[in-house]
Subunit: 345 residues, 2 copies
DNA sequence: GTGAAAGCGCTAACAT
DNA sequence: ATGTTAGCGCTTTCAC
């Protein structure tokens, strides 16, 4: 026998039929223990392994999970979503799936461009990270593929989602600043249309309210386009240009916080002495900038793992239960707040 | 017609045979322009797309490229290899391939564990990042799959490889320190068995030699197990514990450089005033630590892209040309060397 | 240039 | 519990 063995070879050598061998291999149906054992023996002897394509064609499954990310997140190699992606890769292997990555633009027009793995029927389920066009989501729905959203939710919860506990995170961050005695706490936000970010903003306002701190609109920067390092710098510029004099800043994510730190340093301000800063996400960099950044840790790999578990559940169980998971967060106190300025009112 | 169209539907509607349609779709063989156009018209009308599994079964191709990474690199989410991986994802989509990621342990025993995509014939070519067991490489060879190595090379160049120009990088780094007036330049290395690292070490020694600087063995730490941040810290400890008093340090990679910076700071030494430091790799963090790290930039995404191009070449051309690419490097001068201490001999 | 026919290797009814 | 029989949707000789 020259070429690699097929299920036929196994059946022949075991003196059984194709279907019996198939049942054993897929661990399905009822096969007597003796028969099963003899099949497995031959499988071992021939070191037989089913071919993915053949399986796929016959069973209409691919063994793949599609991971959809927005173009900008991917091209920037965003440390946040990259981590989530790596988390899915990790978990996928445990469930014997592979992850197929693709990116999509802001807009979605099915006549224009559709992720290839959807057209080719090359995925059994989809994980979507971050915000994408809702048209795309309904398109995928129409294909009957299970979808799990990560760090994004739609108005009506028709899909399983893995979300950050943004409300709690925002609350923890602001409470931390309050506990340090701060009262003039600014908010540095970006594109607040993303549900994760708007929730952090809401938590900020709520926490201050609860504490009886007057909300000052000049302390809130909420229309910076990009929630990036550059966006953080420019938001900080605008904040101080407006004459605001906060003693603490809650940045909507670490990237903005880092940009903000950069700007404050350039103004000769000392952190946390003059201004304390809290970020959100706990990206790798946060622990390495000077001063090390106090932030709200998000378990990014964990989110990816859970997303895979959910989508695998939907694929295998064929059920349509919608499960929304809020992954807990953790306040990580570091040097950007630790020796906080004293309250001044 | 309820379900998605097959090549049959296209053939029928176009009044042609399956094979003709297939030829058009695959852009192969000779089909008259009119026929071709009429096929494409029907394809558009039905919005037909071939199914990957069916194609794969018939043509014995998968449309996937396997990416093999060592377990430790992956689990640590090593920023270096992660970037290379993202580079491959990026380029793969351009060539209509998907990347399937897997990890392998240090040892390879085909009777023990073989990457699933190899057993399932689910990849058309392989990219290997970093050092893996040579047994694994020969095993893949025996399957007849093209291999491209990234940041690793074997004694005899039987495989295409995408390599860093480590020699030039090491030379640039040390020359930079020499130009700043340093003479007592230490080397902080890790597991020198990795060809990339040993080459950096060799370049270090050669450059000092060329400059007529005496090589002092107490200035060379070359048996630290891990080339990690922790490894850098411990290597730096040992360096100074031995009584060495360098004015500059060339660390074999940024992770070690960062660990070294950490140790120097804890000793109260000022960088670059007391000791200047150069790293290698230019991982993201390097630009964000304090002081910002002078380093040798490696174009990691670029390496991933080139690797995909090479493996796609081998897959499509079916040729066996071995191409070794040395990706250029770039010295990035930052604060960890910029106001260097003065030469003292 | 185009068509007919044979299979790629497997799964999934349906029988038995 | 195991076997028989059809395909899954495509590519690929080989005729014509």
């Amino acid at each position: 026998m020259k070429h690699r063995p097929t299920i036929r070879d196994v059946a022949r050598k075991a003196g059984l039929s194709l279907s019996t061998v198939s049942l054993v291999i897929n661990n399905r149906g009822y096969v007597s223990p003796e028969t099963r054992e003899s099949v497995l023996k031959v499988v071992r002897e021939l070191s037989y392994h089913p071919t993915r394509s053949a399986r796929g064609l016959a069973s209409k499954t691919s063994g793949n999970i599609g991971f959809i990310l927005s173009e900008e997140h991917f091209s920037q190699a965003e440390p946040f979503y990259t981590r989530i992606f790596l988390g899915t890769e990790f978990e996928a292997r445990i469930h014997n799936f592979y992850i197929l990555l693709t990116t999509v633009g802001d807009q979605f027009d099915p006549d224009q461009y559709v992720p290839r793995f959807l057209l080719e029927r090359n995925v059994d389920g989809i994980i979507i990270a971050g915000k994408v066009s809702e048209k795309l989501i309904s398109y995928i729905d129409s294909l009957g593929l299970p979808i799990v959203l990560v760090d994004y939710e739609m108005k009506r919860a028709l899909h399983s989602a893995v979300l950050i506990d943004n409300w709690r995170g925002g609350t923890l961050a602001v409470e931390h600043l309050l506990a340090l005695g701060h009262r003039r706490i600014a908010f540095l936000g970006g594109d607040i249309r993303h549900p994760s970010l708007s929730e952090r903003y809401a938590a900020y306002k709520n926490t201050l309210n609860q504490a009886g701190v007057h909300l000052d609109e000049t302390f809130e920067i909420t229309e910076e386009k990009a929630t990036s390092v550059a966006g953080g710098t420019s938001a900080a510029e605008r904040l101080f240009a407006s004459g605001a004099n906060p003693t603490a800043i809650f940045a909507v994510n670490d990237a903005m916080a880092i940009g903000c730190v950069r700007h404050l340093k350039s103004r000769g301000m000392r952190i946390p002495h003059d201004v304390a800063i809290v970020g959100f996400d706990d990206i790798d960099m946060s622990a390495h900038i000077e001063p090390r950044l106090t932030t709200v840790r998000v378990f990014k790999e964990e989110m990816g793992k859970i997303a895979v578990q959910r989508v695998v559940d939907s694929i295998t169980a064929k059920t349509n239960i919608v499960v929304t998971t809020h992954v807990p967060v953790e306040l990580i106190v570091r040097e950007s707040t630790v020796s906080a300025a004293h309250a001044d009112d």
